[in-house]
Amino acid sequence: MDGRTPFAGTALQKAVFPNKLLPYLLLAPQVAITIVFFYWPASQALYQSMLKEDPFGLKSQFVGLRNFAQVLGDPDYLNSVKVTIVFSVSTAVLAMALALFLATAAEKVVRGKGFYRTMLIWPYAVAPAVAGLLWLFMFNPSMGTFAYLLRSAGYRWNPLLDGDQAMLLVVVAAAWKQISYNFLFFVAALQSVPRSLIEAAAIDGASSTKRFWTIVFPLIAPTTFFLLVVNTVYAFFDTFGIIDAVTGGGPAQATQTLVYKVYNDGFVNLDLGGSAAQSVILMAIVIALTAVQFRYVEKRVHYA
């Protein structure tokens, strides 16, 4: 196989068709959709982020970078940054740790491998908003069975009022959905660790725990790092449904992530300039994360 980077192999001599017009026709659908639904709105976001609109949307005024200054100086926004970091890191760590644990177990068994895999991968297909609803249903204070059990055990459980408990609930729901994905990648990574290395260590008397941390874990580090980036992106963007379904950003903004705030400020509070400025900041974050990921992908090709 050739490289995984998007540009690998462009120098390759390739037999081509000599048509002049056809390639443009072939490209037309995708380019048209990309321009209308991507470049146009993205440039609108950039433009809007420098405007200040009155609440009725009647007049707008060019204010330069003032929206950005306002957003970055807003304690609510900074709180939202903090919430996003706590949420993303917790979700990624929880989902990856559980998945790695299960994947190492799956490596050991001989019988039932296929069965376990099937049973572990299907939460991937559950929509985030539905996942959120299910967890909320189990843990909501008025009729959730688990909330009932927690209360019977004397624990004060109310995620609708307590910010930390709300955060815990969205993290668990978000991580639950992501286990399948991480599990598949960890299984693939573990299979690529050479058996001979592990056997040699076993002959030297290294315990299975020691073998894991000194040989297996360092060898699967590239996958771990890749998953860290993917899980972070997931926690940033794909969890909007979970948060909207479980907490709606509350209580008292305790679970208001950056994406949720873009939505909330733009569609609920109708602060168009501020919301657009936040969009632009988010775009910058995504581009940075993607760049990190691509750098890593190049290394990985080298490694494999």
């Binding site: 995984r4 659908p29 559950v126 995504v286």
Partner: protein, 282 residues
């Protein structure tokens, strides 16, 4: 061999079984709830075995219509969601194959510019540009239409890159042979390239179908009409914690029906799913 003896393997089984239980439990619990009457659900703890309301609950949801979301029945919701998921999956595959084909098998002015134009979109999920994209939809009159649900989510480069990578592994000899035999580019695409891409298309289809089925933020914005809701959105609208009359038994039935189709796709097309996941993300 290592660990033939010892207790490693039984422990691994125990760990996996626990893992499966944790992963599967929320769904099982939902299924249990979907077979209970509303009064049973409102009085925790819920029993751990199915109740006797399976037939009445499901038939009410599927055929009767749910008052909370404007009397729309679940079949309509499932149909909307299916149209959206299929539209996104097939639409993306279609435009991606064409553009990847153009970029790999032709040389023309501005080729790399077009490639970059598409490639950049890889980086930005629709979530970060929702408000302006929403405005574009309003301007184009695409609110409450299937096109509005589908088209903006097709504008992404992942599938194009995937096909491009695969096309570049096609040996030049194949192209030359086709040309010598007098096959034009479209003939080559149809008779040689598409059959060779079958597994890639299947893998991508599974991933994109699930992506489309599970969308939330976008359908929430572009559908106002209850008749146009996807099942996930309708589900969200049915639930309210502020007041006591959320029809929880209906919510649970709808959840199960929302989960079932994509789960079946994943389980039945597991081989392509795993392949698609690993390939499209690398």
């Amino acid at each position: 061999m290592i660990e033939k003896r010892g207790i490693g393997r039984p422990i691994a089984h125990v760990v996996l079984i626990l893992g499966v239980l944790i992963v599967a439990f929320p769904i099982y619990y939902t299924f249990i709830a979907s077979t209970q009457s509303l009064t049973t659900i409102l009085r925790p703890p819920l029993p751990l075995t199915p109740g006797d309301q399976f037939v009445p609950n499901y038939s009410e949801a599927i055929f009767g219509g749910i008052g909370r979301i404007g009397g729309v029945d679940v079949l309509t919701l499932l149909f909307n969601t299916l149209v959206m998921a299929l539209g996104i999956a097939l639409g993306k595959i279609f435009i991606s194959i064409l553009s990847a084909f153009a970029v790999v098998f032709f040389r023309f002015p501005l080729r790399m510019l077009f490639f970059w134009l598409i490639f950049v979109t890889l980086m930005l999920p629709v979530e970060v540009r929702i408000l302006p994209t929403y405005k574009v939809m309003v301007d184009l009159g695409m609110i409450d239409t299937y096109a509005g649900l589908i088209l903006p989510l097709i504008a992404s480069a992942t599938a194009t890159l995937l096909f491009r990578q695969f096309f570049m592994t096609i040996p030049s000899e194949l192209v030359e042979a086709a040309r010598i035999d007098g096959a034009g580019p479209l003939r080559f695409l149809k008779d040689i390239l598409l059959p060779l891409s079958k597994t890639n298309i299947a893998a991508l289809f599974v991933i994109l179908f699930i992506y489309g089925w599970t969308q939330y933020l976008w359908p929430l914005l572009v559908t106002n009409d209850n008749q146009m809701n996807t099942i996930v959105i309708a589900l969200r609208k049915m639930v309210s914690f502020a007041d006591a009359d959320t029809p929880w038994h209906m919510v649970m039935v709808t959840s199960i029906l929302a989960i079932l189709p994509p789960v079946l796709v994943v389980v039945l097309m597991q081989r392509w799913f795993v392949r698609g996941l690993v390939e499209s993300e690398k």
